[in-house]
Subunit: 373 residues, 2 copies
Amino acid sequence: MSLFEFRLDGRSGRARAGVFRTPHGKILTPAFAPVGTQATVKGLTPRHLSEIGAQLILANTYHLYLRPGADRIAALGGLHDFSGWPGPILTDSGGFQVFSLAATRQVDDEGVSFRSHLDGSMHRLTPEKSIALQEQLGADIIMAFDECPRPHDRRYNEEALRRTHLWAQRSLGAAKRDDQALFAIVQGGVFRDLREESARFIASLGTPGVAIGGLSVGETKPEMHAMLEAIDPILPEDRPRYLMGVGSPEDLVECVARGIDLFDCVLPTRMARNHAALTRRGRLNLRASAYAEDPRPLDPGCECYTCQTFTRAYLRHLCVAEEMLAATLLSIHNLSLLLNLAADLRAAILEARLETFVDDFRSAYRKHRPEGE
Amino acid sequence: MSLFEFRLDGRSGRARAGVFRTPHGKILTPAFAPVGTQATVKGLTPRHLSEIGAQLILANTYHLYLRPGADRIAALGGLHDFSGWPGPILTDSGGFQVFSLAATRQVDDEGVSFRSHLDGSMHRLTPEKSIALQEQLGADIIMAFDECPRPHDRRYNEEALRRTHLWAQRSLGAAKRDDQALFAIVQGGVFRDLREESARFIASLGTPGVAIGGLSVGETKPEMHAMLEAIDPILPEDRPRYLMGVGSPEDLVECVARGIDLFDCVLPTRMARNHAALTRRGRLNLRASAYAEDPRPLDPGCECYTCQTFTRAYLRHLCVAEEMLAATLLSIHNLSLLLNLAADLRAAILEARLETFVDDFRSAYRKHRPEGE
């Protein structure tokens, strides 16, 4: 029997509620994965993550390869032991960062050469090398090496898609560990035919899960939704679908409704460091003077530690005084919001009331709510 | 009956073990108070502080007066409600910061005028104003307004001592709340006769506790120890003695042995932010490459969350990658070390084996232990 199993517990429209079993625990879907780029979700301990109900943490192969080195993490027992997070972990392939963060780079069918954004040193990633690194890191879910082009460049997307499919096959051929689920990645920019072609090809590989890359990188929301709707009927029903790098509250709701099971995004923790709080009714800029004497919790409906313990006035003080605790407390809240939203979406699917849930969410949610309410 | 009571449970030489009762809980002494300058111990939640056994937190009146304002904190229920820390809190008078942090300042017998280090705005503190601010902040233990001169300037110390005593009386006269214990402060630099004179005067005021200021500000350790030895027989036996701003592991041991009950110091959290770890055998610089693959806990004997969960290699990675979590995890450890050391000193006093404890500590403790052990 495989160490991985995806079971669908319910559906509501295109939306799905399932359970994905991994060697380090099960993931109830839809699920949102907090991002721990450098083997730490910035400002939170693994215990914080357990307490807010995180099920899956993402780590970035590109960053960990450059520092401290995948070999070091392997020598220390892999990412779980290294980071102290005992639950499921997912690593990306490094491809996206090579194309977005690295300095100069040269890509050919064999792989990509690039300069480290840290010290300018030269490195080379290939599908085989990416898989070898991810096997050293030891996550439960790993990704095929892919090329992530800008979404609107047709010619580049055609070329990148050819390469991504070639690299998916080579990634599969290179993988040796049977305790890691290797997901291949659908690309194709905003082009419906390319996305469909990619979904068919990736589905044919029979991987235990399918990732969808190259979205939320410059296209519009309607373009993103159209791509998800195009590939939904093509993707295998019995495998989890992971939409990479997407995860605002509104994205979670809209994309779950379009058949997505797994998400990751830096948004909740990055916004926390910029002193913005997510709520189901919009965003709050906690630095605003309107909150200076506001005795209410950040988000009155929320049961997270931050909302149960502190006032907006105190959080605003921490933000204005540039205290580290601001980012920690806002990260606890912002991640709780996404994790609870995913859990509520799951419940709504299982109870066949997703449509109402989505309608209610859309009408309550307004971006950039006026400060001070 | 007073809301405050100090009971001595045991003695060993000059050292004392006691219990100080306050409206927000009791403090077992000797005790170390983590510093939460801006109403937050940098990087730690109140729950972290409870878990590591903190009994008393210090907050700085100068900082909170300037931002967010003592009136705002009062309107939000005082420091306990504001910060989410339910236990005992101590505020200083603002005097030390005015003399060390503020830009230009002018002092006369009436008070001190100074410019804010934040925005250059002009402010004035007097004994009456300091007490009024501390009453708004609402800590359990508050301090008389004092002048803290450089320790070796005889003439300045004589003048400052006269003023400090005058201000202590005015502070006492200004205090209205009976749920705050107002401590007066012994000054006198490194001059034995001034320290003795100050101890006699401050003791005569009958305050529920006595603070000792102006040490660890430039004098040598032998000078500090000599001052403590000089005033020990003069200070009242039945009141807690608080040595302000002092609190390295070695200071804790040496000063408890010289009759001190309460300490506060930014050292453990500041060192944590600079990636240094305290142990009972010396300090570790966690950025050192020697730790890059070190699978041991930071401090093998320690039971704190950091030492129970993470390797030196992981902590070193967080430091080198400039991750916020490094400061949080090292603060948890460094504060745990001080809090456990204070608890162990208390046990040694109660079990009449302090002398052996101090000897053992001194022989194990070497500063700047070579990297990698």
